[in-house]
Amino acid sequence: MTTNITFQLNGREKTVQAHPMARLLDVLRQDCSLTGTKEGCGEGECGACTVIIDGRAVMSCMVPVCQVHGSKVESIEGLESMGADGQTCLHLIQEAFIKCGGAQCGICTPGMIMAAVAYLRQPESAPGGVAEALEGNLCRCTGYTRIFESVKTAIDRMKTGANQSR
């Protein structure tokens, strides 16, 4: 029993034919071939599957795809932008993760970055700061120190007016 579900995916309209209760995570990874969103637990605990839905960081393994009908969904693949020279350019949080050592094995990274982006856009969503904003995203490699540094670096660069804060 499948049905048509339409949503905005990384800025473009997308219609998928899927079981309404299919996990958004599977729809992204399989139907949309966007494998940047990862599965670490499938039970809403690790945050590796984090995407942004209508501005909020959400764990896509817990979302039935029917729920995003008519919504705006952003995954890690939507963060890069096209530069004037035709080259893709990274979001400044992605740059910061590379520079500060925020990614080690990288499996938590896409989800971590999406959670960080949601926070950068709406810092008031986590009054306790970066640590609170990322509490739902587990990283087993870094001990978080360098992840915090990455997010702080991105915030500083946004403040100093770097271009693509989006």
Partner: protein
């Protein structure tokens, strides 16, 4: 703060991670990201008892079994997972020795069908009593190290202290579960997997199927964390996928979900240590008697080596005029325990450090002062008889961590039982394989020049997040005096790279990196001023290869367990600061301060990342990560109820590196990855003990454990 040789172009610089861009954009391909049209989804059917015999297997009604590929024990050419000892079957041979033991493999093109079918397979057993703790079962491996006249040394001690310490198991919780994709291409098998040791898999598959090494191609996909959990365990996953692929003639995906991974995969060995210490009234250590025991689980896997490392680290970083260290691993009916960062050393060092803190307390001495009196120095003998040939610099490292942490003021101001505390632990960690292990491995690496002027690094050492790709490029470029852009590291396929040994034991940067350095130096000489492109054009090819050579004078005797256990040691002094909630008894580790000697820092950002990550894992092991075993299986096999540190509860980590380079490590590097697992747990335990005025001798120290 982090001295780097100003003449180096790349070594000592925080060069950006090689594969960083792929990881932050989601382009990095992990095994589950590979599309495999026409592939079958696989599932492992496992035992539900810990000990017994299989009586009957029923394939329930309502499932189109003819659409399934089912592999049972009769389909296996040689039913052994090849590792140290040929005791572990690929599928249960009728006798069940642990919970979650694999019995059948099933596969089908529809993933949902596989899950449904798995529920319809009913296995009945003749249940036998299981042994689920250290002690009653058979001793699997035993070591004994004796140095000096131990009994006489105890007799001449003013104070003799005795205590038993316990450490719990620990699950790796790499965020990417285990997984393999297998496909036979004619008589050749291609395996894509998440793994640390590609050549372990080659060997296991070759032996099981009775085929040649060249018929096995293992490809390491981007690997989402290992920590030892993807050292030997992937052998099993690879074999299962390969068997299903063979029988079905189709590609097979065998990707574990989190619960299965946690329940069935290897974990850190639980340990019990009986420690007896003799000391003079003025605080000079006289004698050590250490009885180290670990639960090996149902099969041998790597337990003898884990036990060995535990035994070899039990003396810690102290001078013992006399020492007796005995180690035993016990066979039980638990799922086999296996490699986990630190590999036995965190367990024995936990006991050593707790005991040292307790003895200082008994003497009424500051634990820092007590240590200072007993630290190893150049020329001192360790329990194996190894004479330290370099000064460990522990005094300076201790001074520094004490200054950084405000140890003296905090100890003075935080009264025992006040809910706040600080604790100290000072440890060492041997670089690379134990004893003669590196000699047996005979690791090889190669560098190959290309017509386009670039140089490829050919190694079997994997990138698992720790930075292999980046560091090897730095080392090679430095020694070749080439721009780093001209030195490349490619995805590992065993057909294309020599066996540079497993990616374990903190050996990659220091030991394998040294081989890369030497191969690069040889290539530099070979080039003799020519460019790589010119040389290749003139000579057709350009290749240098190096093989491990033991450092001069290093001797180890496996029979007596005497000699130089490790070629080099890294050192770390840790201070933990904690707060314990007076109502809930929840310990909060606020800060870990540490001074760290890992020799030369090849890449400071990566080095910090390794140490910080290890510290966080150690704090988790000490405080919140409790593997609750029920009827021989992890009952809390979910991230919901097995609690690893989150961004909120991870400690603040303050590090300072104080390098003593090792002349035989790559550009002076020593082991990095495992050492941070050793010290924080005993430091945290001491701090919690201080905070609640109670002696803690077992970890994890969860609130429930602290209250009881």
């Amino acid at each position: 703060m982090t001295p780097s040789n100003p003449t180096y172009q790349y070594v000592g610089k925080s060069v950006l991670r090689n594969e960083g861009r792929n990881k932050v954009t989601g382009r990095a391909v992990y095994v589950d990201d590979i599309a495999t049209p026409g592939a079958l989804y696989a599932k492992t059917i496992r035992s539900t008892v810990a000990c017994g015999r299989i009586k009957d297997i029923q394939f329930g009604p309502g499932i189109p079994w003819d659409e399934f590929t089912v592999v049972d024990v009769r389909d296996i050419p040689h039913n052994v997972v090849e590792l140290i000892k040929a005791d572990q079957p690929v599928l249960c041979d009728g006798v069940v020795r642990h919970r979650e033991e694999p019995i059948l493999l099933i596969a089908h093109p529809d993933k949902g069908m596989v899950e449904n079918a798995a529920r319809e397979i009913k296995i009945t057993y003749e249940v036998e009593p299981a042994i689920l703790e250290i002690g009653p079962g058979a001793v699997q491996t035993e070591y004994l190290i004796v140095e000096g006249d131990v009994d006489a040394a105890f007799a001449s001690s003013d104070i003799v202290f005795e205590e038993t310490y316990q450490t719990g198991s620990q699950e790796h919780v790499y965020i990417e579960p285990n997984g393999f994709i297998a496909e036979w291409q004619g008589d050749r098998i291609v395996l894509h997997g998440s793994l640390q040791c590609p050549y372990y898999v080659v060997k296991a598959v070759k032996m099981c199927f009775g085929i040649e090494e060249k018929q096995v191609e293992v490809i390491q996909e981007t690997t989402g964390g290992g920590f030892g959990g993807k050292e030997e365990f992937p052998n099993v996953v690879a074999l299962h996928a390969a068997l299903l692929a063979k029988k079905s003639g189709k590609p097979v995906r065998l990707i574990y979900d989190r619960q299965e991974d946690m329940a069935c995969s290897t974990k850190r060995h639980p340990s019990v240590s009986r420690v007896k210490i003799g000391v003079s009234r003025d605080g000079v250590l006289k004698a050590l008697d250490f009885d180290f025991q670990i639960d090996a689980g149902a099969y041998v896997t790597l337990s003898p080596v884990v036990l060995s490392r535990g035994v070899l680290h039990a003396g810690g970083c102290y001078r013992w005029p006399a020492a007796r260290i005995r180690g035993r691993s016990f066979t039980t009916n638990s799922p086999p325990y296996g490699a986990f960062r630190g590999f036995g050393a965190p367990q024995s060092l936990f006991a050593t450090e707790c005991a040292i803190n307790a003895v200082a307390d008994r003497l009424g001495m500051d634990p820092a002062e007590f240590r200072r009196k007993n630290f190893l120095h150049k020329g001192d003998k360790m329990p194996t008889g190894q004479v330290l040939d370099v000064e460990p610099n522990l005094d300076a490292m201790l001074d520094r961590v004490i200054a950084m942490s405000g140890w003296a003021e905090k100890r003075a101001s935080m009264k025992k039982g006040s809910g706040r505390g600080v604790g100290l632990a000072t440890i060492l960690h041997g670089t690379g394989f134990t004893g003669s292990g590196e000699v047996y491995l005979q690791s090889r690496v190669a560098l190959a020049g290309r017509a386009d002027g670039k140089v490829d690094i050919l190694v079997g050492s994997t990138e698992i997040g720790q930075g292999t790709e980046t560091i090897f490029r730095q080392i090679a470029a430095e020694a070749l005096r080439l721009p780093m852009e001209q030195v490349e590291f490619h995805k590992i396929r065993t057909s294309a790279v020599p066996n540079s040994g497993p990616t374990v034991a903190s050996r990659t940067c220091s030991v394998v990196g040294r081989l890369v350095q030497r191969a690069a130096e040889q290539m530099f000489e070979k080039l003799d001023g020519k460019s790589v492109a010119e040389y290749v054009k003139a000579n057709g090819s350009l290749r240098t290869e190096t093989q491990f050579e033991p450092r001069p004078g290093l001797k180890w005797d496996d029979a007596t367990y005497k000699g130089s256990a490790y070629g080099a040691y890294s050192w770390m002094c840790n201070v933990a600061e904690v707060q314990v909630d007076p109502v809930t008894a929840t310990p909060k580790v606020e800060t870990i301060f540490a001074t760290v000697d890992i020799g030369t820092l090849i890449n400071p950002t990566l080095a910090y990342g390794q140490v910080e990550g290890g510290v966080a894992q150690a704090v988790g092991w000490a405080t919140s990560e409790k593997v609750t075993l029920r009827d021989g299986v992890m009952a809390n096999c979910q991230m919901t109820n097995y609690i690893i540190p989150t961004s909120v509860d991870a400690p603040d980590i303050q590090l300072e590196f104080m390098p003593t380079p090792d002349p035989f490590g790559a550009f002076g590097a020593k082991g990095v990855g495992e050492m941070p697992m050793d010290g924080p747990a005993p430091a945290v335990t001491a701090a919690i003990g201080h905070a609640i005025n109670k002696t803690i001798s077992a970890i994890p120290a969860t609130p429930e454990d602290l209250i009881s």
